[in-house]
């Protein structure tokens, strides 16, 4: 048994995929020249006023219902006040005591069964504006900073989980599932490199000391730039906290919540200056914005707009399509467009397992090799479905499947045209019978061997048959030969 249990809660900031910022019409496009996507509103000019972006509200609402959150009848906006050069108004417009959604949950599971399927509760999800970016340029001890305000005012949804995760693996699964969900409903591109998804982790330990449960002080870990980094940071932090507890015996409540930054290169968390932590944000309702109430119709419309969610699709792939949990996961993890592709192909093929095999093995391999998405894949879903259907009906011999697939891929042909170009035709049964008859006549020894009980001797005939007619189906040739010999 482990010496302790790791308790993990995650705060995820997701940039919503709106064209314009939360309170003005500036573009949210990433990568523009610094300070080119600004206006009096987002740089906090005197006299400017915020106006809520309806699209951001909608995307936030969609996310909230997808996370099974309750939508309170009224939500309002508050000012979170602190001084920082990348915060031009001296406050961030956020939500304090009346968030737009709360009390949701997200189910996580592991197809490799390393942890049991569980629900991670979502405490709340609220909308807020992003700050700008300070670029520090420290020359010879003189700290000089420049500021890019392009990002200022970009809409963020902060999704706060309850401390329901018990391992770095579970935390990783939560992030993977959250990201998958968000990309499925199309509310965010979740690109961590561009900062559209940011994660902070709250971690502490429950240590069992002779039947007594001891909690260590909670630490908030920041600066994690990938999901892998989150896993590593949590693992490191759990070990560190256990060591500190052994040395000092410090318990929860002995000291204020500490913030530590993850140093990915060194693989350690480091304490940040306590001065920066203990701020009083003096939250109060923003008098420039009016409270919003979502009607039941709006909430229903948001639910209806979601489409099938990953968890539902995974389930139906297993129960309706008969796929394994593993295959279902592989497919769903590829995203909504691939699932659409798969489902369209299955409709044509009438063979879910067959389509699944070709998609998970060959299609994904080709996409990976060419570093492309399914949108640009040269075999359409209908073609692939037709291709799988032809194999299932026997029109296309299984052994020639790969050749036909490659021809379809390279030349952009339909399954029929590819088969034609390779000279693959279904051989008529009577034609096959006369071919077999002539082979038996020419090979009396083999006939004798089979009659003497050596059935495998017929294999030599299959090779000859393929030489005479490459379209001859080996299994059919074998069966016809055996039948004819039996009649002789």
């Amino acid at each position: 048994m482990s010496k302790y249990t790791t308790i993990i809660g995650l705060e995820v900031h997701v940039q919503l995929a709106t064209k314009s910022k939360l309170f003005c019409r500036c573009s949210t496009q990433f990568g523009a020249e610094p300070n080119t996507q600004t206006c009096p509103v987002c740089i906090g000019m005197p006299g400017s006023l915020p106006v809520m972006n309806e699209e951001a509200l909608n995307l936030a609402l969609q996310t909230a219902v997808a996370l099974n959150c309750t939508i309170p009848p009224l939500t309002k906006w508050d000012r979170k006040q602190y001084y920082y050069p990348d915060l031009p108004k001296g406050y961030q417009i956020s939500q304090y005591d009346m968030p737009m959604s709360e009390h949701g949950h997200l189910e996580i599971s592991d197809s490799k069964d390393r942890f049991e399927t569980k629900q991670i509760r979502i405490l709340r999800a609220h909308l807020e504006e992003d700050a700008g970016k300070s670029v520090h340029d420290e020359v010879a001890g003189r700290a000089d900073s420049v500021i890019d305000l392009n990002r200022t005012g970009t809409p963020l949804l902060e999704i706060v989980s309850e401390p329901d995760m018990r391992s770095a693996l579970e935390a990783r699964a939560y992030l993977d599932e959250l990201k998958l969900l968000l990309t499925y409903i199309g509310v965010s591109d979740c690109n961590m490199q561009e900062g559209s998804l940011r994660v902070d982790a709250n971690v502490n330990l429950h240590i069992d000391k002779g039947g007594e449960k001891i909690a260590t002080p909670i630490v908030e870990i920041k600066n994690m730039n990938s999901f892998r980094a989150v896993e590593r940071a949590i693992e490191y932090e759990a070990g560190r906290q256990y060591k500190v507890w052994q040395e000092t015996g410090a318990k929860l409540g002995d000291s204020p919540k500490q913030t530590r930054g993850w140093d990915d290169a060194a693989g350690v968390t480091r304490g940040q200056r306590s001065k920066e932590e203990s701020s009083d944000y003096r939250y109060f309702p923003d008098p420039d914005l009016v409270p919003v109430s979502f009607s039941d119709e709006q909430v229903d419309a948001a639910k209806a707009s979601l489409g099938e969610l990953p968890s539902t699709i995974r389930e139906s792939l297993q129960s309706d399509h008969g796929l394994s949990a593993y295959d279902a996961e592989v497919l769903v993890n590829q995203g909504r467009t691939l699932i659409d592709y798969y489902q369209s192909a299955v409709k044509v093929a009438g063979d879910a397992k067959g389509v699944c095999n070709w998609v998970t093995q060959d299609v994904l391999r080709v996409l990976k090799e060419s570093d492309a998405g399914i949108e640009t894949f040269s075999i359409t879903a209908a073609s692939l479905g037709d291709f799988v259907a032809k194999q299932k009906s026997g029109e296309l011999p299984t052994a020639r499947g790969r050749d036909v697939f490659d021809a379809m891929l390279e030349k952009g042909l339909s399954a029929a045209d590819a088969m034609h170009s390779l000279g693959i035709e279904e051989v008529d049964d009577s034609e096959l019978e006369s071919l077999c008859q002539s082979l038996l006549e020419a090979n009396p020894r083999i006939v004798d061997d089979v009659k003497g009980g050596k059935q495998q001797a017929v294999g030599a005939l299959i090779g000859q048959a393929k030489k005479q007619n490459p379209n001859a189906d080996p299994s059919k040739v074998r069966q016809i030969c055996l039948d004819l010999i039996a009649k002789m």
Binding site: V51, R282, F284, P287
Partner: protein, 511 residues
């Protein structure tokens, strides 16, 4: 009768009829400004060349037969707190002394669209905080009726400009009485519309939930003219009301059976006897016009000033956080600042005070500190500190939240009263204009001048201040009329009724 003695409405008619030109009209006002503003100090800035050029352009367009806006060719003075593209918008603060707004406030855009001639920018208390215009970082404004007296504030320049005939119309802002009180002190009309009627976009915020832009003029008729131009829904202001503003009936139609509420609490201790008798005389005038006086009670009004001086500073402390020297506005000399820090550090280290040296400001924090302490005046600092304190953890519930609760109670008082009466009438201020310098060292006494005006801001209702008398020493006394939300029409008709029967608004200061 000289041009400047005409009302803006009459000027507009004569301009439209081609009897006068805008250049003539603007020049007449500019002549007065040149002659008298040296002693009044109403304007922070005015640009003779620009005003005449604008007037010429309008005359030309009129001659060409173009359809022009209702204020075409008429001078309008603007309080220096509304953003105007390319122009300085200083809020009478050293902080924004060199700030040129990159955009037009909605009110400015509407004035431009209606072809008004923006004649100059008027003085005010710094960031609209004050009741005497003495808190301007740049100059004092004198009351045209007595240059030793304050014109009131914070829109003191706006009121003095109209009283001194520097412009027939001017734009002010009212957060706790900042239009009505100076209008009362200067013997003119000031109007604070219902909160949300006039867009706040481009109005540099003092207290966002209380701030409202409004007109100042000599007559209620002119007030209605300017109000109809600046009011209306603005999608750029989320708190702007999407309600039509057209008046159903002309304001010169008297109100039959008008019920006027007289508030018992208004006539308590602290009310100057001259003000009281002038206001009571106005009541009598209304009675003679057929109005009925009804006694009403506003029991929570005694908490209005205290409530106001919690809520307004709270919002101000937040709204003024942006003036930190980083992105625009005043920034303390950085070289001096760095040298100062280095010297302090060296001294502490020399004295062996390593801990204290460690605790010294970072250069950034020192820049914030210095920029703000050097560029804000004492009243602005006082309110930022009050507000920051009241919003701090542990005090929020006792101050800010409590104030919001009282604010609701005050509104309920008004709702009850307006169930019985059409308008509530009373004094604008407890006293006639006070002498410049007499209250500067007593902020509490200065705050009490707002006694009768802050409730309209706390409740969002429209309120009008109009001249109704004079003290023995010849200083103006104002009458305040308040109505329920959106009842601007009632208010303006009631005001016009009074002015049709009296001549206080036609009196001019002896400059």
């Amino acid at each position: 009768m000289s041009l400047i003695e005409l009302s803006a409405a009459e000027q507009s008619r004569k301009l439209a009829a081609g009897e006068i030109s805008s250049v003539e009209l603007v020049q007449a006002y500019l002549d007065r400004i040149e002659k008298y503003d040296g002693s009044v100090g109403a304007f922070l800035r005015y640009d003779t060349g620009r005003a005449i050029a604008a007037a010429k352009e309008i005359d030309k367009r009129r001659a060409a037969g173009e359809t022009l806006g209702p204020l075409a060719g008429i001078p309008v003075a603007v309080k220096d707190i509304l953003a105007e593209r390319g122009q300085r918008t200083s809020c009478a603060s050293k902080m924004l002394e060199e700030f040129h707004a990159p955009y037009d406030a909605t009110v400015i855009a509407r004035l431009k669209a209606t072809d008004a001639v923006l004649i100059g920018r008027t003085n005010m208390d710094e960031f609209a905080m004050g009741g005497s215009t003495e808190n301007s970082a740049f100059q004092t404004t004198q009351n045209p009726w007595n240059l030793k007296c304050s014109p009131g504030g914070s829109s003191g320049g706006a009121a003095a400009a109209v009283a001194a005939d520097f412009a027939p119309l001017s734009i002010g802002t009212d957060t706790g009485g900042s239009i009505r009180q100076p209008a009362g002190f200067c013997g003119i009309v000031g109007f604070k519309p219902t909160y949300g009627r006039v867009s706040r976009f481009g109005l540099v915020a003092f207290a966002s939930s209380l701030d409202q832009v409004g007109p100042l003029a000599r007559s209620v008729e002119d007030i209605a003219l300017l109000y109809s131009v600046i009011a209306g829904h603005d999608p750029q202001d989320s708190t702007s009301l999407d309600k039509p503003i057209e008046f159903a009936t002309p304001i010169d139609k008297p109100l039959e059976g008008l019920k006027i509420g007289v508030v018992a609490e208004h006539f308590a201790e602290g009310l100057d006897s001259e003000v009281e008798s002038a206001v009571r005389e106005a009541f009598a005038t209304y009675e003679s016009l057929g109005a009925k006086l009804v006694e009403v009670s506003l029991p929570h009004s005694k908490y209005a000033v205290a409530t106001y001086y919690v809520i307004a500073p709270c919002e101000a402390s937040s709204n003024l956080a942006r003036y930190d020297g980083v992105h625009y506005g005043y920034r303390s000399d950085q070289a001096k600042l760095a040298a100062e820090l280095a010297a302090e550090r060296a001294a502490l280290e020399e004295a062996g005070e390593r801990g204290a040296a460690e605790d010294l400001d970072t250069p950034l924090v020192r820049m914030y500190r210095k920029s703000r302490s050097e560029a804000f005046g004492p009243e602005v600092k006082r309110r930022i500190m009050l507000g920051t304190y009241a919003l701090s953890a542990g005090y929020y519930d006792a101050y800010y939240l409590k104030a919001l609760q009282v604010r609701r109670l005050i509104r309920q008082d008004y709702d009850k009263a307006f169930a019985e009466v059409d308008v509530i009438a009373g004094p604008v201020t407890p006293t006639p204009p006070f002498e410049l310098g007499s209250l500067v060292d007593d902020p509490l006494a200065m705050y009490l001048v707002d006694l009768y005006t802050v409730s309209a801001n706390l409740t969002g209702i429209p309120a009008l201040s109009l001249p109704c008398g004079a003290s023995k020493s010849g200083l103006p006394i104002g009458l305040q009329l308040q109505a329920k939300p959106l009842a601007e029409e009632t208010l303006l008709r009631a005001g016009h009724m009074y002015q049709s029967a009296t001549d206080w608004h036609t009196r001019r200061p002896p400059l």
